[in-house]
Amino acid sequence: MIVAKSLNKRFITDKGQVVDALRDVSFNVDAGEFYVLLGPSGSGKTTTLRAVAGIETADTGYFSIAGQTVFSSDEDLNIPPEERPVAMVFQSYALWPHMDVYNNIVFPLRKGVRRVAPEEIKRRVDAVVETLELTPYINRPISQLSGGQQQRVALARALALEPAVLLMDEPLSNLDAKLRTQLRVEIKNLTRKLGITTLYVTHDQVEAMVMGDRIAVMQNGEIAEEGSPADLYKHPVNEFVARFLGEMNFIPGALSKNGNGTHVVSTPLGNVPFANVPDRIVNDRVKLGFRPEDIQIGEQPDAAIFTAQIANRYYIGDAVLCDMKIGEHAFSARLPNTTDFNPGDEAIVSAKLTDFSIFPGGNAGI
């Protein structure tokens, strides 16, 4: 549905600094897919989204939306935003302050390039107003709505256009935590029900994983890694991605080849076999990564089993967090809240061999 190829965008700030906001960004979004751009502040998410919408023009690259080429630097083609089959929900909502809810929804349908007949307007407005439960506020001025209600109006305005692609830029970031949790499920369900292709920007990794069918993690204007939430979380290839999606422990190791063509990494935790090793691993110094919740108390089959010292223990309600050490290597574990370790104890713990991810090693080990 969206094809983006080799997009580059450079900003020159007022002070003359050069910012490469997009570097060779490419991605595909399938029809009906919920595709999330995730990344820290300044990583280029908004710029990507605005380039799709046409509000920002990439320096080089290619975009097509729903089979129609909307931007191509080679062909010197740039369809203006109003003619692209998209709708966008802004972080600030960008509702028109001088209009009421109804007119905010109706204005583009009446006065825009994509205007439709009056009966069709009525059908669409009725539909979105009902879906988003806006009936009680329909004639209210925008300034008299709460944040969550404004959010819904912004979404209604976008959906009423029945766009091929819905673009959303951190639409939930101005809401309180509870509303955010509630709305992210609602939005996800709504887009699934309508079967609408969505490109969604957020810097919140939980939001990305809850909502996304696929996630692209951006860093410094590049897509660092792309994949399904589970793949990215469980087996990230990129260390930045690994850390960005949640806490990860790293242990240094030495890579060696077995006779039968498989590999093994020897670490302070024991030996971890790998059937094959990605090309990025160029020498024998590597790091293994695993998540705190991968640690289990006691032994288990097909696992690395080792004795760790308990350095600290924190009770956080639904779990117990432990700082552990093995030799001089520290890591943390997330254990059941019944765990009653004390600092100074030694414990036998284990982690499944398949839970480890392999990364190129640094000079100092970690």
């Binding site: 509000i55 369809i79 600030s92 960008a94 001088h98 976008a158």
Partner: protein, 569 residues
Amino acid sequence: MSRVASGQSFLPRDPILAVVKIIVLLAMLMLAVPILSLVYTSLTGEDGFTLSNFALVTEHPQFWPAMGNTAIVGFGTVIVMIFFTVPLAWIYSRTDLPVKNLMLAFITINVAIPSFLVAMGYIFIFNPTNGVFNELWRLVVGERQTPFNVYSIGWIFFLQGVALSSPAFFMMVPTFQGIDSSLEEAAAANGVNRWKAALYIVLPLASPAILAVACYYFIIAIEIFDYAGMLGTPVRTYVAATLLYAFIHDGSGLPRYAEGASLGLMMAVAAFLLALAYLWSVRKADRFVVLTGKRKEQTPIKLTRSGRRLAWGFIGTYFLIGTGVPLLMLIWASGLPFLQVPSWSALQNWNFQAYINVLPMVPELLKNNFILMLVVPTIGVTLAACMAWVGTRFKTRLRKGIDITVMVAVAVPSIVGALGFLFFGLSVNSHVAIYGTIWLIAIAMAARYLTWANRTVTGAMMQLHPEIEEAGLVSGVRKGRSFVSIVLPNVARSLLISWFWLALLSLRELTIPIMLSRRGTDVFATAIWGLNTSGITDEAAALSVILACLILLLVVVFHLISTKWVVQK
């Protein structure tokens, strides 16, 4: 990068945007015309290109004295202005003075009353032949020679300084409001009393801003025509602006256009350089100022009883000097066939004869002034709105063009701009008979005020989140349509305020009409000037009183509308 239309046709895809762009080009043309005509006129002689006009100007016996006088007037004005405006702004923004609205009303009236009326009021009081005060002095002291002569440089800059304190007040107040009052409180907590804190903490913090305001008004002070025209010209004491006027309207000989143009160009260049220096210093000062920028809830200084009396005494005196006394004087003079010292017997002679005398002139003056009051703000605000939008929202060359044109045009003094339009009118007159009509005056005024309106509207547009327009674009609304239906309604208030302000300015303007009015296109200002120059003081005063009433009426209407608007929002 080219844009490919879905359906090519002869109509532009975005007709409104096309119209806006044409309007912007027109606006830029309007700003450029006076400068270009000046350049052309000053650089051409009988046989083509020449610099001799500049030489003629600098060799003129009045040139160097006028330059000196201009500098004295500039500095003097700024010093007087700071003396009044800093205490006023401080009192307004940092004390708990009661009825601050009255103070605001006084200052607004001070801004609104035309400068030439104030100058005339003072002529009636302090002119050496029959000024009321001087007559009193002779009565009481018994000497022929009196200490006050209104026809002098000192009075020019004193009155200019008093007048400019009012607009400067509005520029200064945000600075004082921006300084965090906890700085003073911290000082108070450490045993420094609040008056000392004001002197040693607030004032130094505000001083870069005060300096900036002073620089800004220096540039304005050296181009004002009214006071020097009223108080300097009769005794052949010239400043740059009045010398320029003398070149064109020399009572004896033919107008010396080329020399006028050269002097005008020199003034414009000087003002431009000063403006650049000003911008540069403001940018520099910005880095030092420890202002929060935001307007904070301040805990005002509690004034004691005597503090209040002192403050109101200061404000009252300021108002009396700036408007009260000269206006009363105009009313007094308007009822007497010749100027008399106020007395019971004189009061019994006070009558409306002068008003009756000027009545036949009034319809035409009203007509001309009304045309200006409707046309000037309408053109000015329309052009300014389009220009401000393109200037804030476009990244194109058009925007660069606007920035540069506005920057140059802002620096062109009123009288110089008017002269430019005079040349323009003369040169196109054989094709379009615009010279000597009210329309040329209207265009010149609109061009002059355009930069002001542009700044106000630009400020309002910058406050608008660009995303509300982008939301229009991505939902299929064309740029032009979103300008009309999204941007304009959200800056309507500033458009309305600009419109009224321009209407007011056009009513109180003397400089531009005096350069461009001919028989039949007189406005109040030029008629009053004419009567005063001819020595018909009672009729000049009567017309002045009528004009002052009109202006006050407009201010009241403006106030009512704008407060009602605020309440509605």
